[in-house]
Symmetry: C2
C-alpha cells in the first residue's frame, strides 16, 4: 500500500493507495478523531456494489452510517442538489459529531467536499474516490465546487479532506473509456511532473488496461505525489504555481463546452487540450517534433482521441474566451519546454492558438 | 476618523469608523485592488436612503455599480435568497473583476459575506455596516452564515472582508430600540474586554442616545479593537479563545429561540443572557453582588430588558440544549471573574443554570 503525505500545516493529510483500502476504511478513520456519524454521499450503483463493504468497515469500528445517494450525473454538482443535502444533513446531525464521506467520482467529491466546507463553517470530510480520474486528480488538493448555469465550478471552496482512501480494486468495474479518461490526467502529470512516469506509461499500457495492482498503485501514487507537491506550495492558487495543473485544461474546457459536454468526457477533452498545448509549444519553439510525437502517440495508445469531431474551430475559439483564467483580452496558457518543464505563457497570439487548434481537426 | 487594523497575515484589513465614511468609500476602495465591478447587496430602504451616496462615491472613482436588494428580514439569510443571488452575480460578472459590497445590518453582512466566500471559491468583499449592532460586532471577524430550518448559522464560512467602513452618521436614522440592541453587544465587549469602556458607558448614556459623533466613534472603535484582538489570536475558532465572544450568547440564543425570534431582538436576548451569565458567575463565587448590580443597572440604563416575559423557564432550558456549543450532555458557558476577566466554564450543573435563569423571570 502506498501512503503519500500532503503537507499543509494543521490541514495535512494522507493519501492511501492500494487494493482493499475500502475494507479497512473504518480502521483508518478511527485514528483521525473526526467524529462518530458518517454521512456518506454517493450514487445508487456504488451503494449497491460497495456500500456494504464501506458501511461494514465503519460500523465495525463504532461509526454510525447514513447513506445519501445523488444521481450519477454532472447535474448533481448543483445548488439544486446541494441545498436539500445540507438540510438533510442538519437533521441527521443530532449528536454534532457528523463528518462527510465523499464516496464516488469527481462529481461526488466536488459536491460532498463543498457541503463539508460550508456546513457549520466546515466539518471534517474524507475522500473515497472510485474512478481513476478522481483517484489521480480530483480527490487531491481540496478544490470543491458546484456548477452554475453561467459556468462550471463557479461556486466552491478550498477545503482539504482529512484523508484520501484510493482503493485500486474499485477500478476493475470501470469501463475502458473511463480508464482512458483517467489516463488523460495521468499523462498530464507525467508530462508536467515526472519523466520517469512518462516512460513507465509508454511501456506499461497493457498492465494498466488489465488492472494490474502494481501498475495502478505506481500510477496513482506518482500522480498524488506530483499534485501534493504543487498544492503544498500554492494551496489556494494565489501564487500562480498551481496554474501548471491547468496544462491541457484551458483548451480541454473549451472543447467540452463547445461540444456541450456530450461528445467528449473530461479526460478525452483534456487529451485534445494536451495535444493543442504541445502543438503550441512546438510552434513557439519550446519543444521539438520528437517530443510532440511521443506525447501524441502516448495519448493515442491509451485510446484517447487525437482528432476533434462534431464541433467547429470557431466554436472552440469562442468557448475558450469564457475560461475563468481569462480576464478581458488577456490569456494565460500552460505550455512545456520539455518533460517536467511546464511554463506559463501570457498573451499567446490568437492566430497561433487557432493554428494549433486547426491541427486537431 | 478611527482606523483599526485587524492583523491576519495576508488577510489583514482596516476598520474605518467615523461620520461621513460612506461618502468617501470610493476613495478607500480605489487603493485596495479589489476589482472594478461593485455588486452591492442591500435592502430597498437603505438603497433609497443612502444608495446615491454610496454609488456616487464609487462611480466617481471609476467603479461600475449594481444594486441587488433583498427583503429586510432574517429570512434573507437563507439558501433560498442566496442561490438566486449567486446566479445573478455570475451573469453580472462579465469582466471577472467583480467584488461584493455588504451594505446593511448583520443579516446582509452574513448573506453577502457568504456569497463572496463561495463565488469562484472566494472573491473580495467589503463590509459597510449600517446598524450599531453590525458596526460594533457582526461586520468584524469574518464569520459569514446562512440559516437552515434546523437552526441558525448552520451554513457558512470564515471569510474576511477587505475593509470595513462604519459610518456613524448612518446610525441617526435608527430607532431607539435598534440602538439599544447594539448597545447590548457594546456592554458585552465592555465586560469581557475593557473596564474603561464599561465606566465610559456608565457615564455617557445620553451622549449615545443623542448620537454624539465622538461617543459613537469611541464605542465602535473600542469594540472593534477588542474583537480584532480576539479574532487575530483565533481566526477560525479552533483554539477556544474566540469562545469569550459568546459571553451572554448561549442563554441569549436560547431565549431568542424559545420566544420564536419574536418577543426579543438579538440584542435584547443577549442582554438577558448577560444577566444570566453574571448571575451564574455570582452564584459560583466568581464575582460579588456589587459588580453584578453595576452590570444589571447598566443594561437597564440602556433600555434593555432585565426580566424575561412571554416564555417559560422550561422552554428556555429546552432550547439551550440545542446550542451549537453543546455536544451531547456537556455544556460550556462563558462566565466572568471580574471586568475584563472572562472564563470558560465547562459542565456547569443544570440546577445552577436553572436558578440563574429563574432570577430573570
Amino acid at each position: 500500500m502506498g501512503r503519500i503525505r500532503v503537507r499543509l500545516k494543521e490541514r495535512s493529510y494522507d493519501i492511501l493507495t492500494g487494493s482493499g483500502v475500502l475494507g479497512r476504511s473504518g480502521a483508518y478513520l478511527s485514528s483521525l478523531n473526526i467524529g462518530k456519524d458518517a454521512y456518506i454521499i454517493t450514487n445508487s450503483l456504488l451503494k449497491i456494489k460497495y456500500g456494504d463493504i464501506l458501511a461494514g468497515s465503519l460500523s465495525a469500528k463504532g461509526f454510525n452510517v447514513r447513506f445519501k445517494t445523488v444521481p450519477d450525473s454532472e447535474k448533481s454538482k448543483s445548488l439544486k442538489t446541494a441545498c436539500p443535502l445540507l438540510k438533510n444533513l442538519a437533521f441527521f446531525d443530532k449528536n454534532r459529531k457528523v463528518f462527510i464521506v465523499a464516496f464516488g467520482g469527481g462529481v461526488i467529491g466536488d459536491l460532498a467536499g463543498f457541503i463539508a466546507a460550508v456546513y457549520k463553517r466546515g466539518i471534517p470530510y474524507i475522500q473515497v474516490p472510485t474512478t481513476l480520474l478522481a483517484q489521480v486528480d480530483a480527490s487531491i488538493g481540496g478544490k470543491t465546487a458546484l456548477d452554475l448555469d453561467a459556468g462550471k465550478n463557479l461556486v466552491g471552496a478550498f477545503y482539504q479532506p482529512k484523508i484520501v482512501l484510493s482503493d485500486t480494486g474499485l477500478l476493475k468495474s470501470l469501463a475502458r473509456r473511463q480508464i482512458s479518461s483517467g489516463m488523460a490526467e495521468v499523462i498530464k502529470y507525467a508530462i508536467i511532473g515526472e519523466s520517469g512516469l512518462f516512460t513507465y506509461l509508454e511501456k506499461n499500457r497493457d498492465a494498466v488496461f488489465s488492472f494490474r495492482p502494481a501498475a495502478l498503485e505506481r500510477i496513482i501514487s506518482s500522480c498524488a505525489k506530483i499534485k501534493a507537491g504543487i498544492v503544498e506550495r500554492d494551496e489556494k492558487e494565489t501564487l500562480g504555481l498551481r496554474t501548471v495543473l491547468n496544462f491541457g485544461h484551458t483548451m480541454g474546457h473549451a472543447i467540452e463546452s463547445a461540444s456541450a459536454y456530450r461528445t467528449y468526457n473530461h479526460g478525452e477533452a483534456v487529451a485534445l487540450g494536451i495535444i493543442t498545448a504541445c502543438d503550441l509549444s512546438r510552434r513557439m519553439g519550446l519543444i521539438g517534433d520528437k517530443l510532440f510525437l511521443r506525447i501524441r502517440n502516448l495519448i493515442s495508445a491509451y485510446h484517447l482521441p487525437v482528432k476533434l469531431k462534431g464541433v467547429s474551430l470557431h466554436e472552440v475559439v469562442k468557448a475558450h474566451y469564457h475560461d475563468k483564467k481569462f480576464s478581458g483580452k488577456e490569456n494565460k496558457l500552460v505550455l512545456i519546454r520539455g518533460l517536467s518543464r511546464p511554463v506559463a505563457a501570457k498573451n499567446v497570439p490568437l492566430a497561433l492558438i487557432k493554428q494549433s487548434l486547426s491541427s486537431i481537426f
